[in-house]
């Protein structure tokens, strides 16, 4: 018999109650928490092969060490989230090695190969910022104690990744020429990708329970605004164009393109000219997964063979 009804638990967490143990959860709370942790874990995990592809393009040994340190952090963050899922009765081994590539729950943006150093640092500057925006909100608001404590380290390290992104975006943008063009091209496809990452607009939001259970504090649109509040000025300050601007009338950042819109995977280009598409079409694209989905998951799951060899040795 559960200790609390769904309604009782929702009220308790909004009054400051911190959930520590599975037997304090309701079924609804547990399910919503699992979904949240799964997305968190899978996102951190899949960022590793995506980043690794571009880390090989690092301009020096020292800079490659920075990039691989970031990858190592991401893998550790994934481990933390999978470990928390184990407390909820899931099996880490199965989650990492037992799923098909399309079953992972990371954002569609991480299914795309990062092809050069500029793309890596823009991913640090834009995607890691999206990560901090989301996890920073979770850290501040979550009603789940073990996650809150784990995020102290995670958020600290994500800040390092973001600084890496900002510093290099600045360096390459200021260098001019091809370096600057590469930054612009990377921002062109990754900016809308990150905007989409925050999900459905609030007025269309399906009910997920994450706000009711205080697993997070901000809505999708609020999180999207928070992200744009720092991303847009950063890019503008570097003379890099972004398809969004501050609206005095609305007192918020608004997008300069029909949202959501179609994406050409082969060209790595958003088809702004073709206008707005439905969210159903976006969900279908997300479900099909992006071009590198299989390759990235296989790269991760290859580790199983290596581990078996180590165990046998």
């Amino acid at each position: 018999m559960a200790r609390y009804t769904e309604e009782e638990l929702k009220e308790k967490v909004h009054n400051g109650f911190i959930v520590e143990y599975p037997d304090e959860m309701t079924e609804g709370y547990r399910k919503a928490l699992i979904v949240q942790l799964m997305v968190q874990a899978d996102t951190e995990l899949v960022s590793a092969p995506a980043y690794f592809g571009a880390a090989k393009d690092a301009p020096s040994t020292n800079t490659m060490v920075s990039a691989t340190a970031i990858i190592q952090d991401e893998l550790a963050h994934a481990n933390i989230a999978y470990r928390l899922l184990e407390d909820l009765g899931l099996d880490k081994e199965q989650l990492v090695y037992g799923r098909q590539p399309h079953e992972f729950k990371h954002p569609y943006g991480f299914d795309h190969p990062l092809e050069n150093w500029a793309e890596l640092v823009v991913a640090n500057g834009l995607y890691d910022r999206a990560g901090i925006t989301l996890l920073g909100d979770v850290f501040k608001n979550t009603s789940y104690g073990p996650l809150k404590r784990a995020l102290v380290k995670v958020d600290q390290e994500e800040t390092f990744h973001l600084r890496h992104g900002e510093m290099w975006m600045k360096r390459l943008a200021n260098a001019g020429g091809e370096a600057r063009e590469q930054i612009q091209r990377a921002v062109d496809w990754m900016f809308p990708m990150a905007v989409e990452w925050f999900g459905l607009p609030d007025d269309m939001k399906r009910h997920s329970g994450q706000l009711d259970y205080k697993l997070k504090g901000m809505t999708n649109d609020e999180l999207r605004q928070t992200w744009m509040q720092s991303t847009v000025p950063l890019c503008e300050g570097l003379g890099i164009d972004v398809p969004a601007h501050w609206s005095e009338d609305e007192q918020k950042y608004v997008l300069d393109f029909a949202f959501p819109c179609q994406y050409d995977e082969d060209e790595k280009r958003w088809l702004f000219g073709e206008g707005q598409i439905s969210w159903e079409a976006v969900f279908e694209r997300w479900k099909r997964r992006g071009p590198a989905n299989k390759q990235f998951i296989e790269a991760i799951q290859d580790g199983r063979g290596f581990r078996a060899q180590l165990a046998a040795a």
Binding site: S60, V65, S66, A69, I70, V152, R163, H164, M167, R171
Partner: protein
């Protein structure tokens, strides 16, 4: 030229900043880390933990000759993931100081860094991030 440890060296307008190639107390003792260049370096944070490079004890010496500045820098570990990062941050910050045209960062491994080089301020900061020394 003044002896590195003499009060003149640190008493003038240059604070704890020596002239290039001057013999010096090494690393420059904490009480002598004064002057505009040291203050500027105090604004350069370690990329992983928000405490300054000076408080971490990573800056061993700063020398200026006209528009040229040399910084002796060490790291907490030989495989520090932030080496290039720290170089750039130092250069960017010092080049914003009036009269500084060129900044050369020299990596120094002797004497080795130990945690005893962290300043009391640095220790207090680390404590707030949950790192015990």
């Amino acid at each position: 030229m003044a002896c590195a440890t003499s009060p003149d060296r640190f008493g003038g307008e240059e604070g704890g900043v020596a002239v290039l190639d001057e013999p010096r107390a090494y690393p420059v003792p904490p009480q002598a880390r004064t002057g505009p260049l040291w203050d500027a370096l105090r604004e350069v944070m370690d990329p992983e933990i928000p405490i300054s490079l000076v408080d971490l004890g990573l800056i061993y010496d700063v020398r200026q000759d006209g528009g040229s500045v040399e910084v002796d820098l060490t790291f907490t570990a030989t495989a520090c993931p932030c080496m290039a990062f720290i170089h750039y941050d130092i250069q960017d910050r010092l080049q914003r100081e009036p009269g500084v045209d060129e900044v050369k960062v020299i990596e120094t491994w002797t004497p080795a860094w130990t945690k005893s080089r962290i300043s009391p301020e640095g220790r207090a900061a680390l404590k707030t991030f949950g790192v015990s020394m």
